[in-house]
Amino acid sequence: MKAKAKKKDGFLHELSKNKTLFLMILPVLVYFFVFSYLPMVGVYYAFTNFNFKDGLFGSPFVGLKNFEFLFRGGKDAIIWSLTKNTVLYNLAFILIGNVLQILVAIILSELTSKIFKKVSQSIMFLPYFISYVIIGVFIYNIFNYEVGLANGMLKSLGKTPVDFYGKPEVWKYIIVSANLWKNLGYGVVIYLAAITSIDKSVYEAADIDGANIWKRIRYITLPLLKPTFVLLLLFSLGGILKGQFDLFYQIVGRNGNLYAATDIIDTYVYRTLTINFDVGLGTAAGLYQSFFGMMIVLTVNFIVKKIDPDYALF
């Protein structure tokens, strides 16, 4: 009888054996099927001239026309400027963000005043809890021309006020700063945890050998933070084509004259949906983003696996 049971070790057998477990995970499976897998069917819109009445398969098929529109114009194509903005902003967020977070985490770990550490860490973590709408409020009230804080300060210093909303080139700094500001505390928590988990005896041994604080950081803390850093870096590189929609939309909003410097794939897709209602075009841009995003993850993972399998994501 045992042999027979083993023979029937298929799906149905598993199902009857672990009925409860299957039932317990069923909601999760159904959820992702409906809200993640079903929309994948909709990438077909990218090849149609969609209209709401005819729906998914009734709308006229137009082949690659939507993609041609995105790629039209060679070097000046819409898709290149969107891709460039998306990737460069993300790179700035990732690289500057991690360096700043590591710097702050190392300093905090070396300082001795417990209360100072606790208070400053709490305050730095606070922006993480705030909605992006509030970030928009902050930015607007700092940089608007008439009543903004920045111009108020310039005026009190006797300088002429600056029309920030008429200067697209300053917005890359503003957006990167806002991102750093919001995510600093989160990264510090992670890096501080990694530092705390370093074996204390290593530091003690270094102390006995007469290493000063700089050497300790340079030769112990930094090398031991490398795995955490590389892992976080790889994770973020996988999402390099995914723009931070909330951040950009709440800061830039519908200031069309800032688009050249601040438009990312996600804001473009959002506009095709909410303003033009060009479903085919928006889906095409989204498909481009999702497909190449996946290719980047797979490539990065493949290379990492060759160099050091410990860091591979899967």
């Binding site: 598993e14 672990n18 317990m24 995970i25 909601p27 999760v28 499976l29 959820y31 992702f32 409906v34 993640s36 897998y37 079903l38 994948m40 909709g42 990438v43 819109y45 709401f52 729906g55 702050v104 300093i107 070396e110 300082l111 001795t112 208070v119 400053s120 709490s122 305050i123 730095m124 973590f125 606070l126 705030i130 909605s131 992006y132 709408v133 509030i134 928009g136 409020v137 902050f138 009230n141 700092i142 009543v147 804080l149 108020g152 505390g185 928590v189 992670i190 945890a193 988990s197 929609f245 909003g253 897709v269 949906l273 928006g282 889906t283 989204g286 999702s290 497909f291 995003g293 899967f314």
Partner: protein, 295 residues
């Protein structure tokens, strides 16, 4: 000999305290600016702009909000309801699913984990999702659409599973020998051991619900169904939105502050997060440490 701090440490400490203090102040400044602005007289702001300290103190903006509080209270009600239902339901489904994924004797756990993880690699994108939700599932302008999209994420399921990894398998095994069913083991044994994990995941969910404006912006048409953050967004875009609401209550042409009103609304919408923050911060930090470092 040991008492004297080395010079290098002294230099480091000075730089460290100064640098961290500056960064901390920068993190705090925008909050001070908004609170201070919301407590300043409207005319003063129009004349002189914002400052970091209310120079011409006035509570007019708050008075305006609370004179006609219906709109904000409705949004508060919607947001609180959505946050509570969404967090509770999400927590239940995530923990149940993650528990199954962590059961070593469950044959399909790796396949199912990949099925969930794959959705982070590839997706249909915003527009196919939007059309599915509106045209095929008919969720536009419903309360349900405010809850469903944020119910669970692959990240939270994996985080929860990583928490469960720290619970010894022997607990499950001995309970099975005693004849306990799988759901009983989950509900009676595993859940009580996972309070801090549940707190962390619950906070992630609650924060996502409380801070969401995007779902309202694409799916909700009826103003009485707006969530708090979206109402705030609408008011920022168009202070007329709030004025028209106020004016519909009273026909007299009273002077309504615009700029300070926006700031006061921002303070009222963010208040609960800031008030709860000192108490919940600990769970975030603890949870992130366990989830990130061990996972």
């Amino acid at each position: 000999m040991k008492i004297k701090q080395p010079v290098a440490t002294k230099v480091f400490n000075i730089i460290g305290y100064v640098l961290i203090t500056i960064i901390t102040i920068f993190c705090l400044l925008p909050f001070i600016m908004v609170v201070s602005g919301s407590l300043t007289n409207e005319e003063y702001i129009i004349m002189h702009g914002y400052s970091l300290w209310p120079k011409d103190f006035s509570t007019q903006a708050y008075k305006t909000i609370f004179t006609y509080p219906k709109q904000i209270l409705t949004a508060y009600g919607v947001t609180i309801m959505v946050t509570i239902i969404g967090t509770a339901l999400g927590l239940f489904l995530i923990s149940m699913g993650a528990y199954v994924l962590n059961r070593k004797d469950f044959k399909y756990r790796n396949g199912m984990s990949f099925y969930i993880y794959f959705t982070t690699l590839f997706g249909g994108g915003l527009i196919p999702w939007y059309i599915l939700m509106t045209k095929y599932l008919h969720l536009k302008d419903t309360y349900l659409v405010l809850i469903l999209p944020l119910l669970m994420t692959p990240f939270l399921i994996i985080l929860m599973r990583n928490f469960f990894k720290s619970i010894p398998d022997s607990i499950v095994e001995s309970a099975k020998i005693d004849g306990a069913g799988d759901f009983t083991i989950y509900a009676k044994l595993i859940m009580p051991l996972s309070k801090s994990a549940l707190a962390t995941i619950g906070l992630f969910l609650a924060l996502a619900y409380w801070n969401d404006w995007f779902i309202s912006s694409i799916y909700i048409d009826t103003p009485s169904k707006y969530t708090l953050q979206y109402l705030l967004y609408k008011i920022l875009q168009d202070a007329e939105f709030l004025k028209s609401n106020a004016a519909s209550n009273v026909t007299s042409s009273i002077q309504i502050p615009t700029e300070t009103l926006k700031l006061a609304t921002a303070v009222v919408a963010t208040g609960p997060v800031i008030l709860f923050y000192p108490f919940v911060q600990k769970y975030f930090v603890d949870g992130l440490i366990v989830g990130a470092v061990k996972g």
